[in-house]
């Protein structure tokens, strides 16, 4: 019998040598005259255990990790292809506590299936959502998405159904579905994992969106830093086209939906939806004024749904299992689940999908296992480079859009970056301004000029020059950027800056040190 062995093709697994491990496994099996089939799956998201190798046995899949090339002969010696014990044994994958504690809805198939096998996708409930959608009117589909409570997972948390409804209500000869796959936030990688690990779920979600609002063409705007996602998406799209799931007549419904991946070109600001549309049109990624909303005048001036990867990839399960099924997860107005990405200085970083409501502390310690370096965790940044820094006293905040708003923080795209006590928070504040200056599109003054002035003011503060005056100045500048910027880049750079200043003032020389600096200066 041919034994099935799973070795991920996910970028982060490749970063830990998954390709070399796969080659070694195939070679070793051949040497020993064993018949194996290596399947390149997505990652289960337990990244500290990559390269994680799984073997299909009669009792289920058995995992081993982290596997290096040098471990391969000893794995065969131990009969790992029969699921036998080895120093790297992790037991049955489904029984691994870290995975078992999760509620994987959007990520239901990631790491389990062969990402580009349509048969595998269908065998694991794939395309049930689209089949249901094709029996419904556009308005009914939009109602289900609205009732599920799904909100934009890119960061803005705008209700997805309401956005779709606006596009549905527009009369136009052409409408578009645009997927924002320009996942530029540091500490986030869930979009990448979906595109590399289960691209069909995104394709299905976009097709459902197209059917719902009457759009016949979709674009995935993919960041250029994700070459492996590009390969997986293009393979999956080609397979879906061949089987009639995309094209002029989707599953014989008479409805057309065409999908194309477009590569971005390394501009962070193009993750902002209007800048993204400009870029798709072949222009510089300058942010547009709103109104008009992209839902009314979007790509090439036509009504356009712009949604994040995770939002669109969550639609199929909602159409499959119903709005109530999804809405039953979560807390308050944050319904469903959030794929959380643990990053930075943590022992057990990876993908944790949970219903809204878990606390930061549970994620950092129960899942994250504390800091990688073993030092105390001093600060965490949630929601990417434009998210606030949170001190230990806020670690009991539940992950919920409104709870985060209350403490002047954002959940964003669900990335959590941990820092140990060696971090200099004044330096992080300076970096936030520096990043904004590098990535600013330049259209509005607060962002274009404010970011550079911000770097200068932080430098003055940390050198103790006119300390009190410059602290007041950075607050004033932040106020201008918050209220006067055209988009979230300039408008939210003050979040990391001011949260660092407010919670970690000692790093800015506030307190005894600051006073003495000031008195020296004055």
């Amino acid at each position: 019998m041919v034994t099935k062995i799973y070795i991920p093709r996910d970028s982060s697994a490749l970063a830990m040598g998954a390709d070399k491990v796969a080659i070694a496994v195939v070679a070793e099996a051949k040497n020993r005259g064993l018949e194996v089939e290596v399947i390149r799956n997505g990652s289960r998201g337990l990244y500290w255990l990559e390269t994680m190798v799984e073997v299909a046995t009669a009792n289920g899949r058995v995992a081993y990790g982290p596997v290096k090339v040098k471990d391969v002969p000893s794995l065969f010696d131990a009969d790992f292809i029969d699921g036998k014990a080895h120093a790297l044994s992790l037991g049955l994958t489904e029984e691994i506590d870290w995975l078992k504690k999760q509620q994987r809805l959007t990520f239901a198939r990631v790491g389990i299936t062969d990402p580009v096998s349509l048969d595998d996708y269908i065998a694991h409930d794939g395309y049930n959502g689209l089949k249901n959608a094709l029996k419904l009117s556009g308005a009914d589909i939009v109602k289900i998405v609205t009732d599920s409570g799904l909100r934009g997972r890119g960061g803005a948390a705008f209700p997805t159904g309401i956005k779709w409804n606006t596009v549905l209500g527009c009369e136009a000869e052409q409408k578009y579905i645009v997927c924002n796959a320009d996942e530029g936030d540091s500490g986030t990688y869930s979009d990448r994992m979906i595109m590399e690990g289960d691209p069909f779920v995104l394709i299905e979600g976009m097709t459902i969106a197209g059917v719902a609002v009457g759009a016949t063409r979709g674009y995935i705007y993919l960041r250029s830093e994700y070459p492996h996602a590009l390969i997986a998406l293009n393979e999956a799209i080609a397979n879906a086209e061949k089987a009639g799931y995309l094209g002029d007549n989707v599953l014989g419904s008479g409805k057309a939906f065409h999908l194309e991946v477009r590569r971005a070109a390394g501009a962070y600001v193009c993750g902002e939806e209007t800048s993204l549309l400009e870029s798709l049109e072949g222009k510089r990624g300058l942010v547009r004024f709103k109104p008009p909303l992209p839902a009314i005048e979007g790509l090439f001036g036509k009504p356009t749904v712009v949604n994040n990867v995770i939002s669109l990839a969550t639609v199929p399960i909602i159409l499959d299992k119903g709005a109530q099924f999804y809405a039953d997860y979560g807390m308050g107005r944050s319904r469903g689940t959030l794929p959380i990405q643990l990053a930075g200085n943590l022992k057990h970083s990876g993908l944790v999908e949970l219903a809204f409501g878990a606390t930061l502390r549970e994620l950092l310690y129960d899942f994250g296992g504390g800091s990688f370096t073993g030092k105390p965790i001093r600060a965490v940044q949630v929601g990417g480079p434009l998210g606030a820094y949170l001190p230990e006293s806020q670690f009991d905040t539940p992950l919920d859009y409104e709870e985060f708003t209350k403490i002047w923080a954002v959940l964003g795209h669900g990335g959590i970056v941990a820092f140990d006590d060696s971090v200099d928070m004044a330096k992080m504040a300076r970096y936030a301004f520096e990043f904004c200056a590098i990535e600013s599109c330049g259209k509005c003054t607060p962002c274009r000029i404010g970011s550079t002035r911000g770097v200068e003011v932080i430098d003055k503060i940390t050198s103790g020059k006119d300390h009190a005056r410059n602290i007041a100045l950075v607050r004033d500048l932040s106020d201008t950027m918050l209220n006067g910027s055209l988009c979230a880049l300039g408008g939210m750079t003050p979040y990391p800056v001011l949260s660092a200043l407010n919670h970690f003032g000692e790093d800015f020389g506030i307190g005894d040190f600051g006073l003495s600096q000031e008195s020296k200066a004055g």
Binding site: S11, S12, W48, E225, A267, G415
Partner: protein, 164 residues
């Protein structure tokens, strides 16, 4: 320095790519990607034929090329090494890694080593944040990169260059 033969060849390539992409909606970015993938950079000589084919001004083409960090206007070294500077990697010591790379290669960001083997670039997130710090060489990504790992990557790149 390109000799006249390869300049001619490059011109022919660019014209072929323009013909291939010019009728796509929003053609400029896919076209620029195709040119850079094939030629290695966007030569200034391409601006005029692109602007003509897409009914844009040369200034507009120049504006787009220079707006995006990914596009380069000069030939890069044999290998492009990108070091992630974003927060997650900073939390895991990327600053020391950047300093180490600059010292070993004797270049700053956006520069190419004297032997033409490696161009060093900063990058702001590779989506490998669970395994920071991250480095990318060409399309290959590396995680939990130490100074010793970086030395090995540099050696490998230089070795490949010497063979080529």
């Amino acid at each position: 320095m390109l000799d006249s033969h390869s300049t001619q060849e490059m011109g022919a390539t660019i014209h072929a790519l323009i013909a291939l992409h010019q009728h796509r909606p929003g053609a400029l970015l896919p076209l620029l990607h195709a040119i850079q993938d094939s030629v290695g950079f966007i030569p200034e000589a391409a601006y005029a034929p692109i602007s003509k084919a897409l009914a844009l001004s040369v200034a507009e083409v120049h504006g787009v090329v220079t707006f995006y960090h990914h596009f380069r206007t000069h030939k890069a070294g044999q290998h492009v090494m990108q070091i992630c500077r974003a927060e997650s990697c900073q939390a895991m010591g990327s600053e020391a890694l950047e300093a180490h790379a600059k010292k070993c290669l004797n270049v700053d960001y956006h520069q190419t080593t004297a032997d033409g083997a490696i161009t060093l670039e900063p990058v702001y997130c590779l989506g490998n944040c669970a395994l920071s710090p991250s480095v990318m060489v060409g399309d290959e990504i590396y995680g939990r990169v130490t100074a010793a790992d970086l030395d090995a990557l540099i050696l490998e790149a230089r070795h490949a260059e010497a063979k080529a």
